[in-house]
């Protein structure tokens, strides 16, 4: 196991460390997924190295072999270096061919202004590069790791995928996140218990301009907290001079019961003047709630 895989394993999500057993329904979905991919012959996958796309890429290799699979990583300042390392580790371990492309959403003022549909501009840039890159290699089917649970979220990026005819077989076949984790665990994919890891721009409240400097601050702060031993879901939300830390409930209780000074020092060291600990802890889409995009 590569060193960076070991690092990922060290941040297991406490909630999913004891994952549910794989169900008959989940196995049936996986069989359907393999058949769906085989019908297409060759597939290119938008590959971040997260739980969903890692599973999808591994199944694709299983279904059509490495010669029929291309995992494409879109790299930009909003893509954490640790996530890139996890993606490469999975690809190396499972023999997944990888293509890396630089994306330039940061140069798009519509993206940088950080509106509530920011993800649309990011995904438009991503797919406008990935789809032609796949086509140039004779691959007509481009897929992503959107799952059935994602469909209820605020996800403006999905519209960009639809415009570019990107398919989401996990969602289409009804895979839940829990099923993907369980099936990943059964396949020995080290991401099975990895916390969700959306792009770094998701740490900035809507309307706060996305800049490489702010994203780097967030990335440094989260990396410093991981180094302290923070496990499970973690977000450092950027509120200008103040960083607001969201921890998984178990970790929040643990740190409050101990001493929060190391959290403060670690995040201050990443370049924030002030540090606060969110008392509700981690919430997926927390800034959607703060921005009034979804209900509290």
């Amino acid at each position: 196991m590569a060193a960076n895989e070991v690092r990922r394993l060290a941040v297991f999500d406490p909630d999913v460390h004891e994952a549910a057993p794989t169900t008959v329904a989940a196995r049936a979905r996986e069989a359907a997924l393999i058949a769906w991919i085989r019908d297409r012959g060759r597939v290119a996958i938008g590959f971040s190295g997260g739980v969903d796309s890692a599973y999808l890429a591994c199944v694709a290799v299983d279904a059509v072999g490495p010669e029929g699979t291309l995992a494409i990583i879109g790299r930009s300042p909003s893509y954490p270096a640790e996530q890139w390392a996890a993606a490469r580790a999975v690809a190396d371990r499972f023999g997944i061919p990888v293509l890396e492309l630089d994306t330039h959403e940061m140069e798009d003022p519509r993206y940088a202004a950080n509106p509530t549909n920011r993800c649309y501009f990011c995904k438009s840039e991503l797919w406008s590069l990935l789809v032609p890159a796949a086509a140039a290699r004779g691959i007509a089917t481009v897929i992503d790791g959107t799952n059935a649970d994602d469909l209820g979220d605020h996800r403006p990026g999905a519209a960009a995928a639809k415009e570019q005819r990107v398919s989401s077989p996990l969602a289409m076949l009804g895979f839940t996140k829990a099923e993907i984790r369980a099936l990943s665990r059964d396949r020995g994919i080290p991401t099975w218990a990895q916390p969700s890891s959306p792009c770094l721009s998701s740490r900035l409240p809507y309307g706060t301009a996305v800049t490489p400097t702010r994203l780097a601050q967030v990335e440094r702060a989260e990396a410093a907290l991981r180094t302290l031993g923070v496990r499970g879901d973690l977000r450092v939300r950027h509120h200008g001079d103040l960083a607001r830390i969201e921890l998984h409930a178990t970790e929040l209780e643990r740190w409050l019961a101990a001493d929060c000074a190391p959290l403060h020092d670690a995040v201050r060291g990443a370049g924030f003047e002030r540090v606060a600990l969110d008392l509700r802890g981690f919430r997926s889409g927390s800034l959607n709630v703060l921005g009034g995009v979804t209900a509290a």
Binding site: A257, L263, H264, A276, L279
Partner: protein, 76 residues
């Protein structure tokens, strides 16, 4: 949203802190040394109070002590 009613409500829990508002985020700045275990014990009630006062988020500022001198809040 106003800080004072929320501060008063926190005071009733013997949580002695200034409240800074940023949109729907309330930032608690402890007055005097913070007892994190007390905050932990009251966490559910604090977040519920915050919601009652219109805040979607409430956070405890670390390493900060608000200046003393305002005697409107109870201290223990």
């Amino acid at each position: 949203m106003s800080a004072q009613p929320f501060r008063d409500a926190l005071g009733a829990l013997a949580v002695d802190a200034d409240v800074e508002i940023r949109d729907r985020l309330a930032i608690l700045r402890p007055r005097g040394a913070v007892d994190a275990r007390r905050i932990a014990a009251e966490r559910g009630r604090i977040t519920a109070l915050a919601a009652e006062h219109g805040f979607t988020h409430v956070a405890l500022e670390l390493g900060a002590v608000a200046p003393e001198g305002d005697a409107t809040l109870p201290r223990d």
